[in-house]
Amino acid sequence: MRFYQSRYLTQGLAKILIWVASLFSIAVMILILIQILSEGIPVISLNFLLDHPRSMGREGGIFSTIIGTAALTGLAIIFATPLGVGTAIFLREYTRESRVSRIIRFGTDCLAGIPSIIFGLFGFIFFVIYLNLGWSILSGGLTLASMILPTIICTAEEAIKAIPYSYREVSYSLGGTKWQTITRTILPNALPGIFTGVILSVGRSIGETAAVILTAGSSLVMPTSIFSPIRTMAVHFYILAREGVSMEMAYGTGAVLIIMVLLVNTIANLLLNRYIRQRT
């Protein structure tokens, strides 16, 4: 009888602890969002979004940072997607598991694990200084592209892997060449998966700060070309918060950041689910 009791006592105790721990984890994360959104959403208005920042961000809006974020993210995607999809195609269609593919995968895994501050150092010394691109959208975009490359490769590979072998066999048996098979059958069917990976990378780029500050600068002036320095929303938020310039503006910027990131990731998840459901 005593033995029976103690086992279930332990289970009961464990159950309580686990419930508490898990709910605590989830609750804290939600609390963070609520706190910032509740203070920040009231700050958001059409003016806030479309106005230029004035007096170092104390007044006005965040328009130039929105443009900066969009430009930087866009450039990163433009560079990373062809490289990433190309790598995925090569790994899945042109090689088998061999020394070459193992080396490439090793490189991709390593790149995925490097912290953003190191990318910042790299982007600074290579793009800004060595290639003399200066603090610019270009430097920042190229650095960001390096950071999101592993994600794009990974999702593209999964998407290509999911395509049934029979599709390829059909295409080849009808006289298709390898490249024709890839462009007419494999890529069109892999597109949803690839797109999801791109969207996820967009979400990550929007929030990236360390690497961006060191490569794209922090100028609040509207950019005129890809050689112009810019400040992204994440960087703006960081500067506002750290230098205590304006809490109100900080909350507002933070709220916009959170909303954009959540939106992008939710879209990606929805797309992913629809894509998976379509295939099964």
Binding site: L17, S22, I36, D109, C110, I114, P115, S146
Partner: protein, 282 residues
């Protein structure tokens, strides 16, 4: 047409090596910038020196190493129990329908930028610690708490994956022998999934060590050796992040040198994680 195919193959081969190229460039340039300073100062002095005063040419990063260590340690103390509990919770304790709803929610929370976490820590945790525990509030403790929260999604999702990947026969067998649900989890499932869980912890550790922006915002950035959890401190990452903007010459090279040390640490951690998770399939 055959020529076109061959050309395309060669182009794709070159493209596929882009990750290796980038990795090589990163390693090369960071080393190139930082190694001459390490040479100048001496590796031992650099790593074990406890004074960081760039204006006087003193470049010892021990305070930062210690800072990184304690913040990460604290984050793990918070993150592992909470994360593992949540993983068990998701995997074993709630109906799959609810889990399906919670899981994307956790992934979503993982996507929140670190500057947001840092900001929240600044306005919420720091004042609490300052008021109730003393000290400046901007401290290792605050950093640990926030970092612990930040690495939760990593630990949760990878641990959960490992638990889910276990053959159902493990659980069925244990329950059939009369074990309670908790006993099954604690004595059978977790040990069986231990390599995956360990991998998640190591990856969480890597994420923690590499975190910069949030730490800059809440650690306080004092350059001296921290002696308690309530002290302000710097980590290897925040040191670079704070001073990079205005550094020149030797100072700048010293920051790159810090980057080299960081690079090594992360590489070792990531390799460990990969090795351990490869052992998972047994």
């Amino acid at each position: 047409m055959e020529i076109k195919e061959k050309v395309i193959e060669k182009i794709l081969l070159i493209i596929a090596f882009s990750t290796i190229l980038i990795l090589a460039l990163i390693a090369f340039f960071i080393f190139e910038q930082g190694s001459s300073l390490i040479w100048k100062v001496g590796l031992k002095n650099f790593i074990l020196g406890d004074r960081w005063v760039p204006s006087k040419g003193e470049f010892g990063i021990l305070p930062m190493i210690v800072g990184s260590f304690w913040v990460t340690f604290g984050a793990l103390i918070l993150g592992i129990p909470l994360g593992l509990s949540s993983a068990i919770f998701l995997c074993e304790w709630i109906p799959p329908m609810v889990a399906m709803f919670l899981r994307p929610a956790i992934h979503l929370l993982a996507a929140i930028p670190s500057v947001i976490y840092g900001f929240w820590g600044l306005i919420t945790i720091v004042p609490i610690i300052r008021n109730y525990l003393g000290g400046p509030g901007l401290s290792i403790l605050s950093g640990s708490i926030i970092l612990g929260i930040m690495i939760l999604p990593t630990i949760i999702s990878i641990s959960e994956d490992s638990l889910k990947a276990l053959p159902p026969s493990y659980k069925a067998g244990a329950l059939a022998l009369g074990a309670t649900h908790w006993q099954t989890i604690w004595r059978v499932l977790i040990p069986a999934a231990r390599s995956g869980i360990l991998a998640s912890i190591i990856l969480g550790m890597g994420r923690a060590i590499g975190e910069t922006m949030a730490m800059i915002m809440i650690l306080g950035n004092a350059v001296k050796m921290p002696s308690s959890f309530l002290d302000s401190a710097r980590t290897l990452t925040t040191n670079i992040g704070i001073e990079m903007g205005y550094s020149t010459g030797d100072h700048r090279q010293a920051l790159f040198a810090t980057g080299i040390i960081l690079f090594f640490i992360i590489m070792i951690l990531n390799s460990l994680a990969i090795i351990i998770s490869r052992r998972r399939t047994r």
